[in-house]
Structure formats: C-alpha cells, structure tokens
C-alpha cells in the first residue's frame, strides 16, 4: 500500500506557511489522495501558480511546473492535452484561481479539460500581506479595504458549475478526510474537477477581522458549514452566510481531449493527408 509519505519531500520541511494556516493540511491530503489511488509518481503532474498555496509543489516529489500568477490552469491545459495519460493536478489560491486567473477558470471548466483544480480559498492575498481578492466577502477588513470591503465575493463553486464543470465540491481543513476523498473523486473524474477548500489565514484575514487564533478560526469556519445533503432542505435565508460542503456537482460529460481525439482518429482514416491552403 502506498503511503502519503511516498509522495512528499520531507527534507524540504518545515514548510513556509504560518502556524494555523490550513495549507499544510491540504498538502497532506493531496499526497494522501495520490496514495489512496496508488499512483505512480511519474504519472502525476502538478501545476501551481503564485501565492502561498502556490508553494505546495515545493514539498511534493512528483513532476511539478511552477508558473506565473493566475496561469496555472492554462499551463495545465497544455500538459493535459499534450499527454492525456497524466494525472494533472492544479493548486491555486483564491487570488490565483478565481481573481487574476478567473477568466482561465471559467474557460477551463467550459472546455472540460481533464484535470483537477484544488483552490485553497482563504479570502485574501496572504503572501503579499493580506489584500482583498475576488472572494473576499463584503464588509471584510483587509490590508486594502481598511474601511470595510465594498465588493461582494465570488462563489467559486457556482462559477465553475455555471461554466460547465462536471465535478465541483467544497470542503474545509476542519475535515481532512473529506479533502482527500474529494480530491480523489475529482482525479477520478475524466474532465474538469474543482475542489474548493475554504481555508484559514489567521495571520492576515483572521487577525484583521478579529476571528481569533487558528483554533477558533477553524472552529468558526466549521460552524458555518452545512453538508450539501442537509442544505437541500434549507431555505435561501437559512443558507445565508453558510458554507455548503460536499459534492455540489457531479455530472460527467466528455472531456476536450476525448472529443478532439475523435477528430484525429477520423482524419487518420481519411484519404489524402494534406489539404490545400
């Protein structure tokens, strides 16, 4: 049986993240999701962007491509199409995945590229000092919304679902088993899968909004969650301010490569290879 340790670079620890940050929990869950599937490391490609969570590749002993801010999904698109045998995992934060990279997120979901996106959403740009992102809730205090944030935040899962993602799920670091199970299910979905992990940033977002230390912050986060099964019988008012967790969307549809490959196969059987310009 494979162990999560098989996929980790222990000599790189301790990791760079702050005490109480949920990223380390997600890191272990990712490694464990690989182990649960018994994946050969050579068959995994991880693409990460820029931000605290973009550093996740530093600690994993697999193929890693660390790219520019917001561009992990399009880079992963290239990998997934160039080698459809690879298991492609993309790790991003809310800034990377849903703000600067928001356009790529919806198009990647629409195209249904065969990859699994893990977005650690901690409501702010942690690495650069806690400025607001595209998911920061209205009213929040951040380094760049000192008087209260005037914009509403994106619901990343709804965004991905509306764009056509076949598998969308949400969880929190309070529930590490759920994280690894959802990542595993996402990876086993042929097509675009998104797992949003509502995360804690006690150093910036939590501190500025007086959520207390890591423990109480995680507790608060957990208290806000509602399993999707239970949420289905709750009214919109009751769900206000709550975080719905679990598998939100599971509707397989053919991925980009499968559809494109059909064209390649059809053309290979046609006579005359070169069309005139």
């Amino acid at each position: 049986m494979a162990n999560y340790k098989d996929y980790m670079l222990f000599e790189k620890l301790p990791h760079t993240w702050c005490a109480g940050c949920g990223h380390g929990i997600i890191l272990q869950a990712i490694a464990d999701a690989f182990a649960m599937q018994g994946l050969d490391k050579h068959d995994i490609a991880l693409v990460s962007g820029i931000g605290c969570f973009g550093r996740v590749d530093d600690y994993l002993d697999i193929n890693c491509m660390h790219v520019t801010h917001g561009r992990a999904l399009p880079a992963a698109t290239g990998i997934a199409l160039a080698n459809p045998e690879l298991h492609v995992l993309v790790t991003m934060g809310d800034g990377d995945g849903a703000t600067i990279g928001g356009n790529h997120l919806i198009h990647c979901a629409r195209r249904n590229i065969n990859l699994t996106a893990v977005i650690a959403n901690n409501y702010n740009y942690g690495q650069t000092g806690g400025q607001y992102s595209g998911t920061t809730p209205a009213g929040s205090i951040t380094a760049t919304s000192p008087y209260g944030h005037v914009e509403p935040g994106f619901d990343i899962c709804k965004l991905a679902e509306a764009a056509g993602a076949p598998f969308v799920a949400r969880t929190t670091p309070y529930n590490p088993m759920q994280i690894r199970n959802l990542i595993k299910r996402g990876m086993q979905t042929r097509g675009f899968a998104l797992i949003e992990v509502m995360d804690t940033c006690p150093t910036h977002y939590g501190r500025l909004n007086k959520f207390g230390d890591a423990g109480p912050m995680l507790e608060k986060l957990n208290n806000m969650t509602v399993p999707v099964e239970k949420a289905s019988s709750m009214s919109g008012e009751e769900l206000e301010g709550r975080i719905v967790t679990g598998v939100l969307t599971d509707r397989p549809r053919e991925d980009y490569y499968t559809r494109y490959k059909r064209i390649i196969d059809r053309l290979s059987t046609e006579k005359g290879s070169v069309p005139s310009a």
Binding site: A45, V67, T68, A82, N83, L86, I264, S273
Partner: protein
Amino acid sequence: MRGEKRFIEGNIAIVEGAIAAGARFYAGYPISPSSEIAEYSARLLPRVGGLYIQMEDEISSMAALLGASVAGKKAYTATSGPGVSLMQENLGLGIMSEIPAVIIDVQRSGPSTGAATKPAQGDLMQARWGAHGDHSIIALSPASVQECFDLTVCAFNLAEKYRTPVYLLADETIGHLRETVTIRELEPDEIVSRKQPAEDVGPEDFRPYRYDGIMPEAMPPFGSDRYLSRTTGSTHDEKGEFRPVPENIHRVTHYLTDKIEKNAEDICMTKGWYLDDAETAFITWGCATRSALGAMEQLRARGEKVGMLQLQTVWPMPEKEIRSVLSSVKTVVVPELNLGQAAGEIRKFNDYGCKVVQANRVDGILISPEQIIRVWKEAEQHGEL
C-alpha cells in the same frame, strides 16, 4: 529528398515549416495579420496527430504552449504585436524555466490597435526586451515565403537546442505574400530533437537544470517513466528548487544571457550579396530586404558598387557579420518599416567611421526601392554620420 513546389503565402509556409520541424501543438488567439497560421494549423495539426486549441487570450496561449512543451510536445503560437504584449508574461516564464517554444509574430502597424492590417517592423525591440529582468532572446526574421518555411524549422531547432522560447519575426508583407516555395519533408538530421538524459544518468542523479556552462541540461518530459522533473519561474537551483540567494540569482541571470550571447556564432544566420567589392551596403531584415534587393539590382545595373547583408537572425544581432560590413564599406543604409530600431543596434558596432543612414517608412506601406535609392543618394552627397 522529396520537395513539393507550391505557390502559397508566407503564413501557410510557416505552418508547413512548423509541422515539418515536428511541431504537434498549437495554442493561440486569432489576430490579424497572423490568423491564417491559426486557421491552417487547426486544419493540419489533427491530420498529423497534433492538437490545436484556441485559448481565451494570448496570456493563456503562451501558458498552454509551455505546458505542452513540458509534457514533451514541440509547441508554437502565432500572433501580432498586441498579442505579444500579452504573451510577455509567460515568455519570461519560458525563459526562466527554460522551456522550448516558438512564437510567430506577424508584425503589424502599432502601437496598440494601430493599423491592424498594415505591415510594419516595429516589434524588433519588443521581441528583444519584452519581458522584465535581464535576459536574452533568439529571434529570426524571414524575407521570403521560402524563408518562412526554412526559418520556422530553424526556430524550432534553436528552441530545442537552447531550451528557450524563440521568435519568428515575420510581418504582414511576407505573411500575406504568395510566392513560389519548395515544401519538403526534412531529413532526420535536419531536425533537432529534445535532449534526453544520458543512459547512465539514474533517476536519483538527474537534475533538470545546469549552470556550469552555456548549454542547457537535458529535458525529459513530464510522464517520463524514468525521471521526475520540475520547472519553475522562480530563481532555482539545479534541482529546480526555489533558491533566491545572491550567488544563485547572480549565476542564473548570467547563465540565461550567456547561453544565447556566447553561442551567437551558432545562432546567427545572415545572407550576403556583392559584399566583396561593395562601397555601400544595405543592412536589412524582414520585408525591407525585398525592397533593398530591388534597389540593389537597379544600382548594380548602373554600375554602382552596392552590396547587401540580410540579417536572418535579428536576436542576437549578428555582430561579427555587421562589423565586417561596417569596416569594409563607406556607407551603410538600413531600410526598415520602423523609425530605426535595427539601425540603432548596427550603430553600436560602428567603430569604423562608416556612414550609417536610415531609410524608414511607417505609413503601413512596404518601403520602395526608390526611397532606399533616394536615401543612399543623399548620403553619398551630403549625408551625416
């Protein structure tokens, strides 16, 4: 060698060159005057088992190219100046991560939207410096439809050999010019394949980067069953691990520049005409080469000792060849569809008191042989240094 004579436009010949060189992945965003490259790639690539994908913008196109390249495909995109502006972010990533890719810039009039369908050669400096931080770049520029094919092949070869993004700086004139061209299948030794680790390099010993010389390390693809690999746009060490310490930043920055500048002799390609007895030389690149050839033919017919040097490689600048011309002729005329971007570079090498004059045209029309002759005449009479 099987060759097929065809009458096609430069943009189409570029696609033929890419496919012949082994390219099997295209990601791009359509833009005039390069769109025929996207359209023809979309038709041709799946026929050879390759993939075409139209991305949501040029930023993602460049990212997808690099991803596909890391996974082992030879990858290319085509765009024009406004698209290059967006690609610069991940061009820098490609340079730092040392990922081969080919970017075809079919230049048009600018800045901004400019005159979108008119030719220009205004992207020379954008290609050279369009990415932050110190770096060097390789750029080739075709002046004929045949060169669109031939230099595209060279661009892929150089990208693989030096593990770096390479520009093909075409322009609207050449991209849309149709002329006689020989499209051929390449012999295996004409194609540079990506270097793989030597047999005796075990998985534990393999390092994806090296900084002890001026040639890059081997690059096994993601998905290799023997090696794990790692690429990053962060300053890294041989293992591809983040290492932002002064001595490492220093050596990586020097290496990235040296691997191109110190290999300039291998990278630089030029063509010369009548340089043995020339008293005046036109130094040209891209479409203006055609006008200069016309001017040279007219002047030679009148007995004037005019020669020409065409820069097929524009970055790095073929310094040796340019110096050889500057030191042997009295006057150099540099015709360009810009306000003197190559001329300024040529002057940097002018330690010989040669008279270097510019013939510039920026109205969206190909410079004419007559204009070049006019500039030459003025220079002969009372031109300034």
